[in-house]
Each structure stands twice: as structure tokens, then as C-alpha cells.
Amino acid sequence: MLLKTKKLMKAFGGLKAINKVDFELPKNEIRGIIGPNGSGKSTFFNLVSGVYDPDPGSYIEFDGHDITNEPPHKVGELGLARTFQLLRLYQDMSVINNVMSGYHTLVPYKFIDAVIGRKKIWDQEKVIKEEMMELLSFVGLADYAEMNASELSGGQRRLLVLARAIAGKPKLLMLDEPAAGLSPVNVDNLMKILMRLKEKYGLTLIIIEHILKVVMDTCSKVTVLDHGEKIAEGTPSQIKDDNAVIEAYLGKKMDDEEMRKALAV
């Protein structure tokens, strides 16, 4: 298993944002996570990536390492990359620098070489930049490389955080609502790029997404959260027919036709 959680728990005051979640993800899978607003999806990401400390009794394992109490940069170093629901791009940095800082853990030269300004680091920087420019052209942002990230459009920003997360060649990429706020055409475009990136870099993916069509089309398996608990897990078609899921989403049972409509949003 690439990622494994056991009895993962996080309470904010009395609110159990994540409640005893067991989760397993093998390599090369594309997993979807769905659930109503406030069901704990982003909290799950924050726990796994080390942004939040899990409550005692929890266990998280990534690529054979116990990362339960590791700080986020350690988790990042191990090859787990993520994007944020609120993007968190580096507004006041150029597009290329945004992506290049995602490459941080792979930079080959040492601190002391940078301080004394050895020539070899400038050669290595050049190589890194070329590689990152290639990644930028892959997501279609090469023409904006020298622009400030704050000057990009909403859709371009989503592509940029995607590129930044991939820049460090992660083993696992976790995307928190990558398509939120995009027009249908842009959603398609983003998904195409994502699938090509998965092929190219051999990524394993977890996608939180409200646009159920995206999840249903791209994910091989879906995990459903509600009130911090895992209420269902299975293939998209199994999930569609799961009574607990239907209730969580709509509070009542529906016939097939209604269900199909609801999930096609």
C-alpha cells in the first residue's frame, strides 16, 4: 500500500471532523473522495500531509514510513504532494518561480555551493529551469512563465498549482477540488492534462471533487465521507447505488432516474 491510515481521528473542540477512518490506497490507483460540505474531506488531506496533527490513537503510513506525527515538509520530502482548496499559490512570485520552488527537494547542489556562488550551481539551475519550462508547456502556461502568478486567470491558477505540485516528482498527488469554479470546457481540459500527467509521471492520485461527473469518469474507486466517517467505498457504479451515500447527499432515497440526475451535476 502506498498510503494507509488506521483509526485516523481529528476533533476540533467537540466536532469530530475525522472519525476513525481506515483508508488504503495501492500504487497507481486514481481514488476519488466525495462527501457533502463539511464532511471532513479537506481535513483528511490536512492530516495525511501533516498540516494538522492527528489525535492520539491515529496511524498514518506512506510508502512504508510511519508519518503519523511528521511535519509537513518531511511528508513532502517523502514524495507526497498536494494542492489546496484555496490554491495558496505564491502570488508575488513569477509563474516559473512558483513551479521551480515545487522542485525544492530535488535540487542537487548544496547550500554552501550556493553561498559562494560556484559556477556549477548556475549550470544546474539552468537545467532545472529548462525542465520546469517543459512542465509549464505541458500544462499550457509556458507563455506566462515570467509573469507574476497574481496576474493569471482563475483557470490558469489551477493549472499552476497542479504544475507546482508535480514539479517535485511525487509518488502520490492529492488534489483538493482541482476543478472547482471552472467552466465545463475547462474542466475537460484540466482532466485531460491530469490524465496525461499521470501517464507521464506514473502518479498515484487522490482527488476530492464536488463535480461528481469528474469523479465518476476518472476514478477507479471512490471513498465517501459523511460527518467525518467513511460511509462507503467502491467503484463509481457501486457508489451510485449505495443507500447510505444517497441518504448522505440528499437525506432521502430516490429512484434510479433521480439519482442519475443528481450525480450528473
Partner: protein, 329 residues
């Protein structure tokens, strides 16, 4: 011209060697009295401080208002080593850099938990505490200051007058800028900026936020320490606690803010301009805090990117035009 630029880019220190020779020639061509040399040394010293402040504040985004305290540590390390051991600049400079770097560690620790105005208050307290400690310490010459600090010798020359000391302060300034360029143009500078822009996503990219804050504080403290030592030995070699007050702190901040936070060249130009204005307004001592405070406020309000913003805009516009030119051909 393009070829020349490429060579400079390949061998960055070449540019500094050229700058060195130009600056070597300037006094004999332009300077008419000793005071101009003296002022130049002050400018060089302030450039070193500004370059350091730019690392921690401009690049790493950590608000520090205690930097003048670190500058004082550099000066007094040098001053005391001279007073008690008779050490020359060649010894006091590296020691001052190391000692001030250690003080930088102490200044970094609050930044792990505090941000913005709270961090500013903590560092302000640190800076003032250092000054008060010096002022009340017999060991440091208390309110008498330390005087007649020696000037360095090299190749049988004693650099004991302002016109000679120019040739000490200038190369040290160039070396300092060279180091700041090397660090800031590497992955470390990028990591500093990422920490400034968003520590949470920086950490997600595997950047150790605490480590980089610490590094930024230590590096910038080392710059302040170097500047402080060069200032202590500046003829006539006199230091006094009054040279390290909030007014000096505000002028340091004015340099980097007016020059453009996070812009290496802007900070240098800011240091030149503010030092000259500071010198011209010396007779208006009681208004200086007001003048430079106002400069900071107006800069932040009306040109938040400072002079560096204009420089960038000029180059980006030019590059853009060039691109368009190529496209239309």
C-alpha cells in the same frame, strides 16, 4: 552586447570585478574632499545592512525591527575586541560576523510562533534591549562609547583617513552583495520567497519553513555584523550607543522599503539615496524619525514595490516589446 550579458551571466563574479575597478577609479576622478569619501563609506556600510535586511524581510517576509541591535552587536564586538585585545579589523570582522550570526539565532526563534506586528514588537524589544545593555555596561564603555578604534593595515598602508578607508569599505560591500546575490538567486532564495508568500504550501513542497526562517535571520545578522564592524573601524573609530537607536532602525527600513522589498538592486539604490538624505538632514536631527517614517508610509501607500518595482517594470516592458518586435517581423 548580448554576448557580454551572456558572459556575465555565466561568470557572475566578473561583473563584480568590473564594478570593483570602476569604484576604484571614482574617488580620484570625482571626489574633491575627504567628506565625500567618508559619506561613501557610510553608503557602503548601509548597503551591506540593507542587503542583509532584504534577505530576512524582503525575501523571507519576516518583519524585523530589531536589526539595528544586530548592527550594534557587530560594532561592539569589533570595538571591544579592539579595546581589550588591540585586535584589528582583519580579526574583528570575521569574529563580529560569527557573533552577530549567533545573535541572529535568538532573533529567529520568535519568528517560529509570531507574525507581522507581533514579531515586529518582539524584535524591536530585542534590538532596544541590546542597546540598553550596552549603554549600561561599563564593559562596553557605557555612555562614553568606545573611541580611537584602530584602522586596518594592508600591504604596509594604514587606512586611517576617510579617503583611504574607502578602499576597505568598498570591496567588503562588493563581497557582501556578491554573497547575497549568490544565495538569493539559488533555490534558497526561492525557498525564502515561498516561505514569505505561503508557509503552508511551502512546507507541502518539502521546504522546511523553520530552517529557512532561521537561515534568513542568521544570514541577515551576519551582514549586519559585518557592516557594524566596518562602521566601528571607520575613521575616527568612534562608536556610541546613540548610533544604534530607533532612528537608525527606521532609516534601515526606509532603505529596503523605498528600494523595493525583495529586490536586490532596489535595496542597494535605496541605501544610497536614503544615506545621502540622512546625511543632508542631519541638522534637522529631531525631524529625521518623522522624515523617514513618512517615507516608509508614503512608499507603502503609493509605490508598494519601491524603486525595484520601476526597474522590473522597465525591463519587463522592454522584454515584452522585444518579443512583440520579433513576432511582427
Amino acid at each position: 552586447m548580448e554576448k557580454f550579458k551572456d558572459i556575465i551571466r555565466q561568470y557572475p563574479f566578473l561583473g563584480f570585478i568590473i564594478a570593483f575597478f570602476i569604484l576604484m577609479a571614482i574617488p580620484s576622478i570625482f571626489f574633491t574632499d575627504l567628506y565625500q569619501s567618508h559619506l561613501s563609506s557610510l553608503i557602503f556600510i548601509n548597503i551591506i545592512v540593507a542587503a542583509g535586511l532584504n534577505i530576512v524581510k524582503g525575501y523571507c517576509g519576516q518583519v524585523t525591527v530589531g536589526h539595528v541591535g544586530l548592527y550594534a552587536v557587530g560594532s561592539y564586538t569589533a570595538g571591544c575586541m579592539f579595546m581589550y585585545l588591540g585586535a584589528s579589523l582583519w580579526i574583528t570582522l570575521p569574529v563580529a560576523i560569527l557573533v552577530t550570526g549567533l545573535f541572529g539565532v535568538a532573533f529567529a526563534i520568535p519568528s517560529f510562533r509570531l507574525e507581522g506586528p507581533y514579531l515586529a514588537l518582539a524584535t524591536l524589544g530585542g534590538g532596544e534591549a541590546i542597546r540598553l545593555f550596552i549603554e549600561n555596561g561599563e564593559f562596553f564603555g557605557s555612555t562614553y562609547g568606545i573611541s580611537s578604534i584602530s584602522q586596518p593595515e594592508l600591504f604596509g598602508i594604514t587606512f586611517d583617513t576617510p579617503d583611504k578607508y574607502y578602499y576597505i569599505s568598498m570591496p567588503i560591500m562588493l563581497i557582501a552583495i556578491y554573497f547575497s546575490f549568490s544565495v538569493l538567486r539559488s533555490s534558497i532564495g526561492r525557498a525564502f520567497m515561498a516561505v514569505r508568500e505561503d508557509p503552508i504550501s511551502a512546507a507541502a513542497s518539502g521546504i522546511n519553513v523553520k530552517k529557512h526562517k532561521m537561515l534568513a535571520f542568521i544570514l541577515s545578522a551576519m551582514f549586519a555584523g559585518a557592516a557594524g564592524a566596518v562602521y566601528a573601524h571607520l575613521p575616527p573609530g568612534y562608536i556610541h550607543p546613540n548610533n544604534y537607536t530607533v532612528i537608525e532602525m527606521v532609516t534601515f527600513l526606509a532603505m529596503v522599503v523605498f528600494g523595493g522589498l525583495g529586490h536586490i538592486w532596489g535595496g542597494i539604490i535605496g541605501a544610497v539615496i536614503i544615506t545621502i538624505v540622512y546625511d543632508l538632514t542631519r541638522p534637522l536631527y529631531e525631524y529625521q524619525l518623522f522624515i523617514f517614517g513618512l517615507t516608509i508610509v508614503l512608499t507603502i501607500l503609493f509605490m508598494p514595490k519601491g524603486i525595484g518595482g520601476f526597474i522590473d517594470k522597465y525591463f519587463i516592458d522592454r522584454r515584452f516589446k522585444k518579443k512583440q518586435g520579433v513576432a511582427s517581423k
